[in-house]
Each structure stands twice: as C-alpha cells, then as structure tokens.
Symmetry: C2
Subunit: 555 residues, 2 copies
C-alpha cells in the first residue's frame, strides 16, 4: 500500500534516517541564497512573490472566517499591511478533527510522502520565505534565508524522519501463533494502527517564526495529527505562506486542506481558550517563561512541548587561540543582536584571569579584549548591518538601555545604534557587555533576551564550572561553552553538563558557533533542564504524539 509521494521522496527520507543514525553532516536544502542552486531568477521571483503579499488580503480559504486582521510591524520599518483571515477557533478545531481520519488512514508512509512533498515546495519558496522572515523578525538577510528557509526545512525534515522511524517500528499486521503442546496452536491475526493523539496547536514566536514552528508542526503532522498554528502577532507572514503551501499540497492530493490552518487571534483569552480546548491534544510553544509556565499549568488535557527562557553560559579557563576565541565570541554575541534562545548571556571568567597563547590575561584584560573584539568585528557598517539585523521588540530595546545604564554592573562595552541606509527606522544595535561579580546574581541570573551579556568574575575555574551547573539546573540553558586547554577542566565541565543536562561546545574558534546547531547532528535543547522540556528532535519529541490501537481475532 505504498504512496506515490513516499516512493518519490524515499531517497531523501532514507538519507535523513541515515544522517540521524550517524549524526554526520547532511542536508538536502542548500543553505546559500544563490541562483546557481535555486535556479536562474529564483531571487527575483522570490522577492516579487513577497512583495505581492504586501497590502493585500492573504486568502487561505479557511472555514469560520469572519474578519480580516492586520497589525504586523516590521523591525525594518517597512509597511507590510497584510491582512489575514480571522477564523473562529472552534470552527478550525472542528474542521481539523474532520480532516483527521483520512490523514490517519494514509499511514506513516503516506504522511511522510506528503510532508516531504510539502518541504520540497517550501524549499522552492525559500527566497519568498526569507524576505518574509527578514521583514517580520528583523534578522539580517543571510540569516533570514538560512535559518528561515533551508535550516528550518532541515529541522522539519528531521522531525518527519524521526516520526517515520518511530512509527515504522510498529508493524501493520502480525500473525501470532502460540503453541499448545499436543493441541493445535492458538493462532491470531493482529492489526496495529497508528492513531494521532488529536488536534495539535503550535504557538509561533516572534524571532524564529519558521525555525521554531516547523519541528512541532511536522512532528505532529507526520504522526497523524491535524495542526492549528497560532503565529506570533508580529511574525505572521512566514507562517501564512507556509500554511498556504501546505493546504495547496493537501488539496492537490485529495486531502482535506483543513488538516492545517492558521489561527490569528487578537486577544490572549482566545489563545488561552484554544490551547485548553478539550480536543487539543498537544501544544508546541517557543517563547517566554510567563506564557510557557501558564501553558504547562493550564493545558492539562494536552502534552506541552515548551522551549522557554534560559541563561546560556560559557566558562573561560584557558585557550591556545586567544584571538580566534575572541573572534568566535564576538560573532556569537553579535549575530541577530543576540535575539536567539541559544546566545550566550553569562561568560564566566576566573578572577585570576586566564592563560592564553598570548600570555596571561587578567579578568579586566579579558573584558577589554572581548569588548574590542566585538567593536572591531562590527566596525564596518556593512558587516554590522548584515550580522546584527534589527531589534525586534520594544522590550529588547528597553533591556539594552537598562544594561547600558550601568544598573546591572560596569559597562564594558556600550551599545551603539547604527543607522541603516535602506531602512532608516530600523533599530540596529550593537551588543552591550557588562562586567559583574559572581555575587551579583540578580543581574545575570535571569534571561535578558537581546544583545546583553555579562562577563562574570568568578573565584576560579572550579567555581565557574559549579556556577554554570547551578545556573543551568535552576534557570535552564540551551547552550554551554567552554574554553580550556586542560583535559581535567574539560572533563569536569563535561560532567557538570551531564548533570545539568545541557549541550556543551568546547574550544570553538572557527566557523562553528555555540548558538548554532545543525539539524540531523546537533540536538537543539536536551529537554532535561528548565529551558526546554523537549528537544529538536529526539525520539521523545515524536513518540508521545501517537498511540497504537490494535485489534485481534482468531484465524
């Protein structure tokens, strides 16, 4: 009972499964925004497709449609003025439920085939999606293209492959024959059917509307569930484009497009009613602690996969590559103005300084050198504009101003505003670095989302490792880093991260950064500390999204 799209995309699925098995580098979606790989004119056509949305009504043909909703504000100050269909959540849920049985009957293979077809189509829209991500989130172009399109598609495919792997372990049928001594054996035929838990809601975030939405969306879909996406009010367009493509592929293959719908809402109460609806069986969420904790507290009817705030740390002990270490850190702190859940917030440095290939560096020298590395890296405006992007929210601007004011510690590097020649309204800000003591916990021991980092003076390396472990265990983290030339220190930090359950990057001095993770190889989050209760994408991320319903009879 093979599905033509499963056969068509089988090689891609097999390669994804192989990558998950080896965790070697792999991706079917080219990460360079180049017309050499995406085809002559792909860039121009993508930009035109994006432009064509502006000022228009974004038709999706969804049921329960009563009104049009606008309100996206671009961090680049571009007038988007797209209107989205406001649909009654109750109607969307009912329509989703109606679409579910046919999707279920398709089986794991058919669903994987459709999902892979959708991803191929989304990949072809990468330029259009990248413009939509850039203009709604404030990301720079290269990042918007990579994280917004191919890397998000990678994470989606990873979820589809993981979901298929787990489902494929359950045979569709079995003959069960139990010997009965001299009597004839008991003989039964059994059927095992994968059944999705029910309607999935995916709550999008403002900074990574595709990268953080696709894993839950495709994990839920591939395991047999309908999905309703509630995008963040300031980043709807990339999600709307995605939903339209999914609905088109579903309809083209004779499936009910209402399996996937977009739910734009105005009032928080509407979102709360949606996620606590008895028919909603899972909620995927990326965002702040306040709503995340609310979801975990109130969505008792659903499985909640939540990525919340955290305090990512790096321990500096010693290095044989001081310049490159500083350069690596400078890029990490600057990328998208630190508006990433994986950006380092607390850099823990021994009070006695660190040993380097350029001699011993005092704590104050490390502070000054890192400040200089950041400002040097961002000295050229074209580099700064491309890397920093624009600040997405007013809250982040306020946090930058607070850090700049000296209220959180001594300002080692102040944030400056860079004028954007193409987007004069864009708030482009360089990172702020604050020096403080380990005892100043109120300053650095809560997430301060944005380009705000602390260089924390800690008694010694052992104390830094212990502090890092405590930060991660109590406040959560998605990433940890270490610079050390000592095997004993590396071992101690490794043990600390095993206890606090956080991924560790050691001595990054080249083109890999602690805040970046590669699909099929790196797990994004462990699901084992307060920053996230799930991981992109381990088996647990997909296995609880479906159940197995069996029937048996004698033959």
């Amino acid at each position: 009972m093979s599905h033509p799209l499963f056969d068509a995309h089988r090689a891609t699925l097999d390669a994804a499964l192989d990558a998950l098995r080896t965790r070697a580098h792999w991706s079917p979606y080219p990460e360079l925004p180049s017309t050499k790989v995406y085809g002559e004119g792909a860039d121009v056509a993508g930009k035109a497709a994006f432009d064509a949305h502006l000022g228009q009504r974004f038709e999706l043909g969804q049921p329960g449609h009563s009104d049009w909703q606008t309100g996206e504000a671009s961090p680049y100050g571009v007038a988007l003025e797209v209107s989205y269909p406001a649909c009654d959540p109750e109607v969307l849920i009912a329509a989703a439920r109606q679409a579910m049985p046919a999707w279920q009957k398709l089986g794991a293979d058919g669903r994987a085939g459709i999902c892979l077809e959708i991803l191929q189509r989304l990949n072809r829209q990468s330029f259009e999606l990248a413009h939509a991500v850039m203009m709604t989130t404030g990301q720079g172009w290269m990042m918007a293209f990579q994280a917004g399109a191919p890397h998000a598609q990678d994470r989606a495919l990873e979820a589809v492959a993981m979901a298929w792997r787990e489902q494929s372990q359950v045979p569709a049928e079995a003959i069960w024959e139990k010997p009965q001594g001299k009597n004839p054996p008991l003989r039964m035929k059994k059927h095992f059917e994968i059944v999705g838990r029910g309607v999935a809601v995916v709550v999008g975030c403002s900074t990574f509307p595709t990268w953080n939405t696709y894993p839950g969306l495709f994990a839920a879909l591939a395991t047999g569930n309908p999905v309703i996406i509630k995008p963040h009010g300031s980043a709807v367009l990339p999600v709307a484009i995605t939903v339209r493509t999914i609905r088109a592929v579903l309809a083209e293959h004779g499936l009910d497009p209402n399996l996937v719908s977009l739910c734009v809402v105005q009032r928080p109460e509407t979102t709360q009613a949606l996620v606590t609806h008895p028919d909603v069986a899972s909620v995927d969420f990326t965002g702040g602690n306040a709503f995340g904790r609310w979801l975990l507290e109130h969505c008792r009817q659903a499985r909640v996969y939540a990525e919340l705030a955290g305090v990512n740390t790096i321990v500096l002990d010693s290095t044989d590559s001081y310049r490159r270490m500083l350069g690596n850190l400078a890029f990490t702190l600057s990328l998208y103005s630190g508006q990433m859940c994986t950006t380092t917030q607390a850099i823990l440095v021994p009070a006695g300084g660190i040993a380097t290939d350029e001699g011993h560096k005092t704590y104050d020298e490390v502070c000054a050198d890192l400040a200089q590395a950041v400002s040097g890296f961002l000295a050229k405006p074209e580099v700064a504009l491309a890397v920093l992007g624009a600040v997405q929210s007013r809250d982040t601007l306020e946090r930058i101003e607070l850090a700049d004011s000296g209220a959180l510690g001594r300002t080692v590097l102040a944030s400056t505003r860079i004028a954007h020649p193409d987007y004069p309204q864009a708030q482009v800000r360089t990172p702020v670095l604050v020096a403080c003591d380990a005892g100043d916990e109120p300053a650095y021991m809560e997430e301060r989302f944005g380009p705000i980092s602390f260089i924390v003076r800690v008694a010694d390396t052992a104390a830094a490792i212990a502090l890092s472990e405590r930060i991660v265990s109590t406040h959560g983290a998605l990433t940890c880093g270490l610079y050390s030339t000592s095997d004993a220190v590396i071992d101690a930090m490794t043990d600390a991260t095993l206890r606090s359950k956080v991924a560790l990057s050691i001595n990054l001095t080249g083109g890999v950064f602690v805040n970046q993770s590669a699909a099929f190889s790196d797990f994004h989050g462990t699901g084992g500390n307060p920053a996230a209760n799930a991981s992109y994408a381990d088996a647990a991320f997909v296995a609880s999204r479906f159940v197995v319903v069996q029937r048996r009879y004698h033959v």
Copy 2:
C-alpha cells in the same frame, strides 16, 4: 566497550527486539509451573524459599533504616508477618542519586546486560515469587505463577528491549564534516551521552504487584535512572524479593545496590512527599482514580505514567459460535474474580437480541445463558477455587454485596461464596451479573472493580457501538470486545475503537481472553483514553525517560 553481561544475554535481547518488530508470539520465560522446565525440585525449593520469609525480618541493607514495618494481610488468611525495613525516603533518594552516575556511565548496552541478568535470576525464582504473589493478592496458583512471574518478566524484558532500541538509535560519537567550498571543511567530533531524567518512583498495586510494577521499573532502570519502589501495603513481599535480587546482582557486578530500593511507608503523606520530591523525575502508577488524579495534579516536577480505572466493554451483535462465546465470556468474568484492570464490566446487548448459530436469542435469553455459562463453568469447586482465587480487599466485597442487593439493576446471577478447604478464611466469590438498561448510566458507567458485570440493554448494535465509544472516551478502558458475524459491524466497531483509542478483541471463542495481553505482541493499554496515559510498552513509554546530552569540538 562491550559489557560481558550484554554479550552473555545478547541472543535474548535480539530475540526480544525481533519479536517487537514482528509482534509474533515469543517468550524466553516458560509459563508452565513445571519442574520439567524449571528443574527438578524447583517447586519445592521455591515454596521453601517463600516459607522462609514468613515471620522474619526482610533484610535489604538499605540506608536510612530506622524501623521495621509489618501489616500485610493475606486474602487467603495466611499469617505472613514479614517485617520490612522502613527507610527515610530522603535518604533513599540521596542514595539513589549517588548511585546514578556509575549506572549512567555503563551505557545502554551495560544497563541492558545487567537488567537481563536480573531477569534471568528472577525467572529462576519464579516459584518463590508465585507463592508470594498468590498469598498477597489472592490470585489462584496458576495465575499467580504466570502473571506474577514469567509474564511479568516478559513485560520487564519488553521494556528493557524497547528502552535499548530507543537508546541504540543515538550513536555514542560522530564526526561531522561540513564542506566550505574551496576552504577546508569544518570538522567536529561530537559525543552523545544518554542521561536518565533522574530518580524514578514506581508505585505498586495490590492485585498485580509484579506485572504492573516491572514495566516502569525496568523501563526506568534501562534508560539510566535509579528506582525507588513504593509497594502497595498489602502486597510488599513480591516486590521485596524482587528488590533484594536486583540489589544482589548490582552488588555482584560492582554497582551501588542503592540504585534500586524498597520504600515501605505507613502514612499517605509520606508517599505524597516522596512522589512530589524535586529530585523525582518520573512516577509510574497503577491503581484507582483518586490517587492517580492526585499524582497527575501534584507531581508537576515528574513525568507520570498512570494506569487508572476504566469501564471495559464488549458489544454482542451476533455469533456463529454461541456456546463457545459464552464459555469465553464466563472465563473472562471469573478469572481472579474480575480483579483485573482488563476485565469486562459492561456487556452491551441489543434490546432485540442477537443472531446466533443456535437461532435468535432474546436479550433475556442472553442474560440467562451467560449466567448459566458462568455458574456451569464454576460448578466444580476445584475449578472455581483455581480460577477465582480470593477477593483481595474489603472494598471489593462491599461492591459485590451492593451489586448483589439489586441496587444497581436486576440481579441475573448472584454472587456466592465458595468455601476453600485449605484456606477457610479466604473470601472466594463467584461473579455477579446485573441486567440494566442503557439509560441506567450511574450503575454501569463507573468502574466497579471486582467480579461485577452489567448486561446492558441497548437499542441496537449501532447504539451499542456508539455507547461503547462514549464509555471509552469519557471513562476510559483497557479492553474492548466484539462478537459479530457482520463485516460491516466489525468495521464500524473498529472505527469506534480507533476514535476512542482502545484495543479490540473480535470473536474470541477459544483460549484467548479479552482480559489477557501477551507481551511483545499486544500493547497493554494505548495511552490514549482516560484509563491510562501510557502503554506497555510502546516507544513513548521509554523515550521520555532519558535525554541526550552532547558535546562537540573541532578536530
């Protein structure tokens, strides 16, 4: 880095994995209490081992030991008078945490090897365990042997194999090499380590102290977690024997025995403090709704795997084997006096009667014939005593009396007490059958644990299927049955069970019963209806018990 016990038991593990893949019949643990398979004298030695516990202190060598606790009352009226070490839960938790890192370092292979060794040892103790299960639960001998020993060991091995399968999908290391055009590739080494979520608590039940305890115990253990078992106060001995064997195997292999401990508690508050302890990362529970709901409500720091109450249903539509159908039902309702979470409670029969190979049978005839089938089956005392066992709790006796009184509907078959020649105090009771209408929902639509079943008169088959679906969706069920000669009816019931997410047994007329499930082939529970949020054993049962912690560095 292979472990000698992994190598020693590799063939068993591989066979278990193969069975999980095919879901064909398989078991390494013989289910017949025969000295031909368990060895000359195994029965006598097992009985002697059991007898040796009576009236004694059950030493375990656990830390935090302050007192001895007794209190088990045998449903057979045997004086057990075993005392168990009462240990401070805080001390047990601290000791468990201390034992965890070495267990983690052993890796998935080593842990599987140790678990398989433990199971082999427990299998050799099957007679001893069977006597302990029989005398604490009231099960008949054959059932106590099978469900208490080899079948429980099967479910344990199933959990170990499933846990190993999921862990083995994560490679220990990887080389990740990303091309950089004309530049040298980015090249990293990555390590992936399986880390258990933390201390697991398994709360045992009174009727199946091993069968319902082993899956959570071994799933948690195999995935790297220490386990504290809180047995039901009336069925401690089988758990204590298990814990002692596990601790012995651990110690023999240089591991800290405090990885697994027994926690007998007197006051409910102590249990509540244990399961809500911040260091407790998972709770496995089998039992009533009251405490189950409490756990789900209060253990917010842990993953809770709960099997609760349900109302199992069978729909009678038609049959080509009336006598054998009645015989099959009679056995199902009688086995262990219905004190199973899988026993049928509501038999839904069309008001117009059913078509059979013996002609049309009216609703009243079905009631009378089923009553006769049960009393006929139990007519011989030696059969009745062997099948029924003894009633485990006073609550169940009260429920039997209530049903007998006619308060819940017309008594079709009254419960009778059978005197046990060997155990005069044993409360041996035959099933009570109550006839009622579909409208009498308060009677049959809540779990009435024990040998109490309702023959519910429903308008027609379609209404019976719809009622069954509603019962399962709202009150939960672990099993559903159907008797029908019509493909259309079978299809309709199949769809209803797919929607309500419950396993379906169709036309059981031979030696397989709706309330029995075979490890490696049948899923026990789906985890998708209110009777249970987990299944023995699907991938979800093991996948959320560990996380993957990675580290990476350039090479």
